[in-house]
Symmetry: C2
Subunit: 767 residues, 2 copies
């Protein structure tokens, strides 16, 4: 009976497609066999011999052999054309029967047979036309044919992203593209750190270190350019960027912001040329986030008008100090000022660490922090001072000083207020870090998206493999991050402008914004690079593809310049305090004016027409987005204020009350920042409506807005701001936007303008 | 007028506490000044001189000096006792007035004055008693006094977690605690890789490499012990674990599972002793996830009964192959078998790589994969074969062979089915990896929680700093991960038992479960270790504290042994196919029986009484949890099936349809796995109700269950399964559980029983 099905003239051939599909790369379940058998038993157009032959092909213990399956396949292919479309396997079976024996087929009621067979198909669970594809050697699918398109001028968008900083960005790109900037193996700490120092020297020689310093000391007085330099350098090695930031930003800017003109003249010229490498020594082992609590002392000696800098115990050493382990010669040291045994709070002092030959200064001990998760090109160290004497002039005296009579003087009476005012002048660091993080995020995205556009895995039956960027899940992983990166870019441009144009009375707002954006952007960068690593699979794990370094180097960005969780709470406290100063005081507990003044203004109403509105025009309407973001910002803030007021009013210690609400407070900070980012993104979209990249940018903006609403959909649903029907529509719209933006994804990452030599990852170049 | 407020006999002293609080470390806003001034103007119990003095103390341009503020503070402290409680600053002001001048106070209507002052306080936004704390030098708060307690026997819980594997676990712990296992600097690849090999040799000498092999070849036939060894080794260097897994698991078990007794006898004894280091060469550059598509060929030569192994082009090289770059002498190579130009699908072959002296075998080329993000102690390489000839006997012939007549033979006709059956025998690898991941997660948690229990930052005004683990946000970050880690432990114990007891007909379920749990546990580990890094701040970034290595070494766990996203889709397809075989076939598109058979069973009803039930007893009821998890699992699966059926039924290519639903399918997999994990956790809790650690385990279980419901609250709300009032109650309950479990957190990580020398991180030991 072996080949009856295909070789003899027989009505059984009508079952061929169904049999083939049922056996195709699987075993027959008992249920399927019984269904099939009782069907055959019941029909009246097969004779007993035919029926028992079919039964024999349904035995799980003797499945069709490989050869038999091949025979079946070729028989089917012989009788149907590649282009023929069938609505079911039954229809295909009928066509084969006719093809093999037209005469026989004319003796049968083919319509009746086909109807019966269709019932069998349904009972077996075979779906519509799907199985037909088994017999087509190749066919185009939507997934296969989707690919990168160029609908806008990449150069034009790139120029727009530069926001007027094109010349300095170009200058920096040329430098880091030189062969002397080829990446090095980071494994030998000594070698790597010296290479990083070399790179920084070249950059200083090009006049870029001092670019933010005032003209009087040889700089260009151009802080905007300074940020652009830091951002552009961040397309290259990030240890180099942090070393650059420590030297010219933290060390140099602390002299500039906390010192007065004699310090500027004395130190800034040689800091700007890197002839005087130095450190910013604030953090102590026991006091990272709670920096007000540092224990290093600077005790004034009236006898010789000097300060004695001293580390009282091991856990009061300055820790994680960049430039300390190998290269730093001096440091801005934060210490409690003591005069006549009275504590005058934290001030800053310039203290020597090493002499010109690199020998440690008497009384100074330095321990290497050793290997870190990343940034191993930066020589972090622990500094300890044993009664190190410095002259009175080395106190950075813009905000506090000791006069000729040995008395403390300050324009700001409160120690806390003075300390936070000092920190406030250093807010630039909190702008440089997220801008650097954004560059790292862009590199990660560019590598991953370019790779995903060419890397192929899987495909339709018999068809070519498909670029993995065509998979919906892959798009879901990457496209929202692309949108968030563009959003971050515009937000940081706005932040930078607000900082450059700052007025005294805006400082509290600007500090809160900088703290919040630093946390927001750096958290995003960490999560984005994790997604990139996984999206690149094993290739993403190889160091040559650079996601390793990008991820590990930026991992600490969420901690330094302020722990993100602490920062978000500060932002919340600032929002609660309605623009009061010194919001960095964690023990903020005296007054919660916000409640008194703000609960009077009613929240945006929930419109019953809106909560169920799923029109495409509505979902893509910036007014809807703005309203949703503002509603969340206000409601989260308002409820936090009410909750705190109730808890404290009920007699809870304010410290406990703030602790109970900590999670809530972080959300206050996040929702404020997200509203701000949305606003800036939308402003940019409006600005470029008529440009070639306008529509693509609008799509990215839509994706950003809807992604964030979706991330918070639990909250929105909880509040009754939207209903389930709307969140489902939003999910669908996000999928659609991801699918559409996929076509623009490669041009969108090319518009970042990252030099090829910096991107470097072989997978980004099809290698 | 300087000191009138405190030194002269004056009614103005009643304002002292309010004035002090208003000026305390902040500036006066214009609004506050105006409020204060108009209040003073209006009252009738101050004379003009007193009023104008008060006005003078409200000038933003001349704030009180530091000395004056101190005077105010000491005056207040002079008249009130530490223990005195005041309901407001006004009450305190009155008390001070009485204290300073009882006579004067008797001339005044103190009740009226106090009532007026209270109104001022409210207008200024001063809350209840909070400001009073400014004048108390120290006071206990709930947050300050919360700390680690021991309510159960750590040893008892530790023993329970061992699940009967105590002796082998102890044996392994003793080995990895030896001084020869001290961690080494991973920077020099050569040195590190050789050290890792040395460690593996010691482990092999202890008889632990062959422990899972059958007794006939010198093993113990104890696969359960093999998994316990791998899990326990994972408290130490993870490169060592992966090297161990490559040698004894992948290489050895491929010989065992795909070969027959002559291969076992020939190879397993020397593999088990590590005398024959080898590789598992499946993945190719162009085919990672879509492994069915590999292009390496094994062409049969009839003339001399041999196979020629060949790499057709560079992108068909075997990539990421562990043990290849330095130490491997042979490899199990997966290649397409070609006989007489006909392709018989993928089979496995034993192929030499190097001779006994370590020289490459003729025709074999190997390139080092170089530095990786982690696992740098493993020598991954790229292998290329140029017409390498091997005898017929070196084909691993359990599932396919070439007979004496040079004909292909196999008990499984379909190439696909055979291939996935072969892979199915290797499912053990997908159990070893998540168990190793769990150990890494435990190390990360132990380090982070022990550090957070001693690390102090911030505190109430005037009080001591507080352990950071007392902060709610910190608890929120870590406690759910502690619960998820315990949950993972029990789930993997169950998984292991199912695997050990497996019957043929359960294989499809077991494979799906292993794929899903591998993805679930390794994703969790990556996210958990990221949280640990950030929760430890700068200390978490230093390599000495080991989160660096734990995080970077395990990062690839989400990719190897199957990309997690691909695995979750396979799980979904298996669920859709209702336990059909060969579910690994990504082009699964023939039949969707699930819909036909399963939609008839109705889903769990949404009970209107349940959706708003916020009783504590209900929220902590395992029936509620089980119902919620099962409802989600069924609904997500059912809607995915309906969606696919509709799309395909409407004529969409099945490949496109599966792509459209990809995101949905991943959720099918996740919700299935999460239900399974919940079930196993709950079973364990029931088992130990009466043990000393029973109640703590129940709390962890509750936190696990509610955390997952909260993570999916958007979905639950969307479905109307719960209402906002309930999700809010769940959030509150989670906060409460985190707060309570914090007390048990240190004992709970101690119960993992990680040897101190392996944990190693200084911060875990208060250093």
């Amino acid at each position: 009976m072996e080949n009856k099905l295909t070789q003899h003239q027989s009505k059984t051939i009508v079952f061929l497609p169904i049999l083939y599909v049922v056996w195709s790369d699987r075993t027959l379940s008992n249920q399927e066999r019984l269904t099939f058998k009782s069907f055959i038993k019941a029909i009246d157009w097969l004779d007993e011999e035919e029926k028992s032959f079919l039964f024999s092909r349904l035995e799980p213990d003797s499945p069709p052999s490989r050869t038999e399956m091949e025979d079946w396949y070729f028989t089917i292919r012989r009788f149907i054309h590649e282009e023929q479309d069938f609505e079911s396997l039954s229809a295909m079976g009928i066509a084969i029967l006719i093809g093999q024996d037209k005469e026989l087929s004319q003796t049968l009621d083919l319509d009746r047979i086909q109807n019966q067979l269709k019932k069998l198909e349904i009972e077996l669970g075979i779906i519509g036309q799907s199985a037909i594809y088994l017999f087509k050697s190749e066919h185009p699918t939507v997934t296969t044919t989707h690919s990168t398109e160029k609908v806008f001028e990449v150069e034009e968008l790139a120029k727009f992203l530069e926001a007027g900083q094109g010349p300095i960005i170009e200058r920096v790109k040329k430098i880091i593209s030189r062969s002397s900037f080829a990446y090095v193996d980071p494994s030998d700490l000594n070698f790597y750190r010296n290479q990083v120092l070399e790179w920084c020297k070249i950059i200083a020689d090009e006049g870029l270190g001092k670019i933010g310093y005032p003209k009087e000391v040889g700089g260009d007085g151009d802080m905007e350019a300074y940020f652009s330099v830091m951002e552009t350098l961040s397309y290259h090695d990030l240890s180099m960027v942090i070393k650059f930031g420590v030297q010219f930003g933290l060390w140099g800017m602390s002299i500039y912001s906390l010192g007065t003109s004699r310090h500027h003249k004395k130190y800034l010229p040689s800091i700007g040329t890197l002839d005087l490498p130095g450190c910013f020594a604030m953090t102590e082992t026991n006091h990272g986030s709670n920096v007000r609590g540092i224990e290093t002392t600077a005790t004034y000696h009236h006898k010789d008008n000097s300060f004695v800098i001293h580390t009282p115990h091991e856990k009061a050493r300055k820790e994680y100090i960049g430039n300390a382990a190998m290269h730093g010669k001096m440091a801005t040291v934060f210490a409690k000022l003591i005069i006549d045994e009275k504590d005058y709070g934290v001030s800053a002092f310039v203290v020597p660490l090493r002499d010109d030959k690199g020998k440690l200064w008497p009384g100074v001990s330095i321990e290497d922090c050793g290997r870190k998760m990343g940034l191993n090109g930066v020589d972090n160290g622990l500094i300890s001072f044993d009664q190190v004497v410095i002259p009175r002039e080395e106190m950075l005296d813009r905000f506090s000083s000791v006069n000729d009579r040995g008395e403390f003087e300050s324009p700001i009476a409160s120690d806390n207020r003075r300390f936070f005012t000092m920190l406030g002048t250093l807010v630039g660091g909190r702008i440089g870090i997220p801008r650097s993080a954004l560059s790292a995020a862009k590199s990660g995205l560019a590598i991953t998206i370019k790779y995903s556009d060419t890397r192929r895995q899987f495909g339709p039956e018999g068809g070519e493999e498909v670029p993995i960027l065509n998979y919906r899940m892959h798009q879901r992983r990457l496209m929202p991050w692309l949108a968030k990166t563009y959003a971050g870019q515009f937000a940081m441009q706005y932040m930078t402008q607000r900082f450059l144009d700052r007025k005294e009375e805006e400082m509290q707002e600007i500090e809160a914004m900088a703290a919040g954006l630093k946390a927001y952007v750096t958290w995003n960068t960490t999560a984005l690079l994790q997604e990139c690593r996984e999206a690149c699979g094993g290739k993403g794990y190889l160091s040559e593809n650079r996601i390793d370094a990008l991820k590990n180097d930026t991992d600490i960005y969420t901690t330094f310049e302020g722990d993100n969780t602490v920062l978000m709470q500060l932002v919340a406290k600032s929002r609660l305090g309605a623009y009061r100063e010194q919001f960095e005081n964690m023990n903020f507990f005296t007054i919660l004016n916000y409640v008194a003044s703000k609960t009077k203004t009613s929240l945006t109403e929930k419109n019953p027409l809106i909560v169920r509105n799923v029109d495409e025009a509505h979902l893509l309407d910036p007014d809807f987005h703005r309203n949703a973001f503002e509603y969340r910002e206000k409601d989260v803030l308002d409820s936090a204020a009410r909750r705190l007021r109730r808890l404290i009013g009920d007699g809870m210690d304010p410290f406990d009350a703030f602790n109970v609400c900590q999670h809530h407070l972080v959300n206050v900070g996040k929702s404020y920042i997200e509203r701000l980012v949305l606003e800036q993104f939308n402003a940019k979209v409006k600005e470029v409506e008529d440009r070639s990249f306008g529509p693509v940018l609008k799509k990215l903006y839509d994706l950003f807005a809807l992604s964030l609403i979706e991330e918070n959909k639990g909250w929105y649903l909880e509040q009754g701001y939207v209903e389930g029907v709307k969140t489902k529509a939003i999910r669908k719209m996000i999928n659609q936007l991801c699918w559409e933006i996929r076509k623009d994804a490669v041009p969108l990452v090319e518009a970042f303008g990252i030099p090829d030599s910096c991107l470097a990852a072989p997978i980004a170049f099809g290698r």
